[in-house]
Symmetry: C2
Subunit: 238 residues, 2 copies
């Protein structure tokens, strides 16, 4: 009855944001934590920790996400449970989540950390196409998370999880283009998202360059993606 006692359960999270470069298009980025002990000491790894008896996996993901970034995600979903026998020297099953953070939240938090001088230890943000060597199977896990994101962007509104409260359609389109890796026709993109009816037009405009662009915000009454019939405690994010 206690045959599985020597299998430990960890929870890790692929925390994604869209970092806006000053020059080119925005790029997907994620925080990694430098390991301080064996195995894989000094290597970078996904944020996470052991699942505690008092806490559900999704709560553990939200908690370690907050500990690593100081932020709450706009989207949080289970990715996969990885449990291959040889994925760690000791037997570990990792329940992995993926989360989206708003780019402005991340930038504000990094600025605040820098100003106060008390940033989380051993945490660093990396562009997804410029990752260091990673511990365990975390590289494959990130690949799978990116595949899921790119898929889900096609049939849900998850891309809006990266954007601030108000944004222009060009900013939303830039987010899609960065995630999908290809250019989208501005005219058609506009019509598609407008007719989808998930965006709320504001009366405000973004000025500063050329013709002012209308600001939109997303309808927070609607989930960013259909979670199906999962129990509420499996899906709550805020």
């Amino acid at each position: 009855m206690t045959r599985s006692a020597d299998i430990r359960v960890a929870v890790s999270t692929v925390i994604l944001t869209l970092r806006r470069g000053d020059d080119g298009p925005p790029v997907l980025a994620l925080p990694l934590v430098r390991r301080t002990r064996e195995p894989f000491a000094e290597r970078w790894a996904l944020p996470g920790g052991w699942l505690t008896p008092e806490e559900s996996p999704v709560d553990a993901a939200a908690r370690t996400l907050a500990e690593t970034t100081g932020l709450a995600p706009t989207y949080l979903e289970q990715l996969y449970a990885f449990g291959a026998v040889d994925r760690s020297p000791t037997r570990v099953v990792s329940i992995v989540y993926w989360a989206l953070l708003r780019q402005d939240d991340v930038e504000a938090q990094i600025t605040a950390h820098r100003a106060s001088g008390r940033a989380p230890e051993n945490v660093e943000w990396f562009d997804v196409d410029d990752l260091p060597a990673l511990a365990f199977d975390h590289h494959e896990i990130i690949e799978y998370a990116l595949w899921r994101l790119r898929n889900k962007v096609g049939y849900s509104r998850v891309a809006q999880g990266f954007l601030p409260a108000e944004f222009t359609l060009a900013e939303l389109r830039e987010a899609y283009e960065s995630i999908l890796g290809r250019a989208l026709d501005p005219a058609n993109f506009r019509r598609q998202v407008e007719s989808a009816g998930n965006l709320i037009r504001t009366d405000r405009f973004r000025t500063g360059s050329h013709r002012p662009a209308r600001l939109y915000r997303d309808d927070t009454d609607l989930e960013l993606a259909d979670r199906g019939p999962l129990r509420p405690e499996e899906t709550r994010t805020r």
Copy 2:
């Protein structure tokens, strides 16, 4: 470091097949196991067992599936890891898989069991819309598996996992109709699956009623669904 030692890991599988009634349309059905001990003694539950240290979750799912049904699945995919604190009196994380079985395999196996008199103990097949009271959160798990199946049927070929080696387009359409719960236009259905190019026309026909129908078989070189970049050991089914 051993904080998660009192969390045990189980693996369960929602094993689905399409049972063809003599009269009406085929219905989804699954095997359940009657529990012999507490908690939930005498209640029906999903087939499964504890994850052993020597075996990966997907192997455990395939093994318990074979123990319950004597069969190998045509499709096997991880569904979700359920880990809410209160889902069991003791703390259990269940990595749940969902699997498809060919209807002819299931029928042959049931007939064989009946003939030999040595059917697996405490196993019974139920139609999904006529389930008994279930142990734990297994009812919600089944609902989620059915939601996933219905979704996946729309953008993959998983429905073919229910059918025998050779089948008519009407049989394939019946499978889709049963899963989706609505009628499909035979003419349009034919064109869609033919143009998808995943079926191989045979020179054989199903006779016995009215005009003979051409038999098709599926292209076994192709996966029934896109698994993304998951490692092969996470996806192998045969």
